[in-house]
């Protein structure tokens, strides 16, 4: 049992160490790919009857701008996010867990269409995941 636990820990440790030298921004494909992801994401939202209503009356040009900036920023790219905090932006929307999960699926679709490899998708999602607690049921 002890050996079992320690081999599991070794795997976790190896997993933790296995980072590349490249920034996630470069792995993603930089500015162009991020712009493509955000464009695809907006299209996905437009065609989703459950998520689209949240964006009624939103300034989509600003949304595009700020989301590009944010993705660039969290991926260690050459940008600083200048938008509002996730808590401020999503306050009062009462986003449900189901709708949040659905939005993540749309983002995954957007990344897949932009040609982002699945392993790189996972890394970007890992950086966005901690933000969920600021958005759900607020």
């Amino acid at each position: 049992m002890v050996k079992c636990v320690s081999s599991m820990l070794i795997i976790l440790a190896l997993a933790g160490c296995a980072t590349t030298q490249q920034s996630l921004y470069d792995e993603l494909g930089g500015k162009q790919t991020i712009a493509a992801i955000v464009d695809n994401f907006i299209t996905e939202i437009q065609y989703d009857a459950e998520i689209l209503p949240y964006f009624e009356g939103s300034d989509i040009a600003r949304f595009r701008d700020k989301l590009e900036e944010q993705l660039c920023d969290v991926a260690d790219g050459p940008c600083d996010y200048t938008g509002d905090t996730m808590a401020q932006v999503h306050a009062g929307m009462a986003i449900t867990e189901h709708d949040f999960n659905l939005t993540v699926d749309l983002l995954i679709n957007a990344m897949t269409q932009a040609g982002v490899p699945h392993r790189v998708q996972n890394k970007l999602l890992a950086r966005l995941a901690p933000m969920r607690k600021d958005m759900l049921y607020k």
């Binding site: 049992m1 636990v5 081999s7 795997i11 976790l12 190896l14 699926d105 996972n122």
Partner: protein
């Protein structure tokens, strides 16, 4: 010693992302373990079976077949998961003594409550507590071996976490379960013994890598008591799970179950299919 078998290492390779249709991690929600609870193959996890979110319910059914040298265990079961908070399960074991002849049947009723967290999103692992009530239908062999009861209660606490992209970009899932039990071979050989009739703490664990949305590979380990003094062994397995959609999953594993009722070296194939009806 038996821990050396726990060769979890043959796992790492490919990848993709793993968020299911409903946003839950495919594979962590979809399986039912051998006693009916949401989990892996041998081990219950903190995740509830089914892909329901906090606004939804789900109903799951599964069938599992474990074929080892001298025995075959067939399991049929079902579980309901409510608002990603409570899971209720029922499973029937039919244990064929393929070498000796005869069968042992057992019914298992389970309940599990999610205490904390979300397996993907929360900072700490998702935490759940569960019980499994086991009711042996054929207790002749259990009595002959000196077990004290033909029914028993297991209690467990499970912690499960998915680390997005943690294994060189692949998603990694681990689970640790602490179980209080006096079941002999899951209860198929009764509960307790005149010389050892207390619940004992047993540790169980799983690790898995999600190669893509549809394929998980991993290993599990389950410590077991030896109340009957027959050299009951810990169990382990390595598994491959294919999840074509959130409504269907199939798992193939190699299970090493050690000594069972005096018959040594019981190992063989574990095959399980499951599905979500809603």
């Amino acid at each position: 010693m038996r821990g050396t078998y726990c060769a979890v290492l043959a796992l790492l390779t490919l990848s993709q992302n793993v968020i299911a249709d409903e946003g839950k991690l495919i594979g962590t929600a979809g399986l039912n373990q051998i006693e009916g609870a949401g989990g892996g193959g041998l081990v219950p996890w903190a995740t509830l079976s089914g892909y329901d979110s906090q606004e939804q319910t789900s109903l799951n059914v599964f069938a599992t077949n474990v074929n080892v040298d001298d025995y075959r265990l067939q399991v049929l079961g079902s579980s309901v998961s409510l608002y990603d908070r409570v899971e209720v399960s029922a499973a029937r074991h039919t244990f064929d003594l393929t070498s000796l002849g005869g069968e042992i049947r057992q019914n298992i009723y389970g309940a599990k409550v999610r205490l904390y967290g979300d397996v993907v999103y929360s900072q700490y692992p998702q935490l759940s507590a569960g019980v499994q009530y086991k009711d042996l239908q054929d207790d002749t062999i259990a009595n002959a071996l000196g077990s004290t009861d033909s029914s028993g209660l297991d209690y467990y606490l499970s912690a499960t976490k998915v680390h997005l992209g943690a294994a060189a970009g692949y998603n990694l899932v681990w689970n640790v379960t602490a179980r209080m039990t006096k079941a002999n071979q899951l209860g198929l050989l009764g509960f307790g013994h005149a010389t050892q009739d207390n619940h004992e703490l047993m540790m169980e664990g799983s690790v898995g890598i999600l190669f893509n949305r549809h394929l998980a590979v991993g290993a599990e380990y389950r410590q077991k008591p030896d109340n009957l003094g027959l050299g009951e062994d810990d169990w382990w397995d390595v598994f491959v799970t294919y999840i074509p959609s959130k409504s269907f999953n199939v798992t193939l594993a190699w299970a090493e179950l050690g000594s069972i009722a005096g018959a040594q070296g019981q190992d063989g194939l574990y095959l399980s299919i499951g599905g979500q009806l809603w």
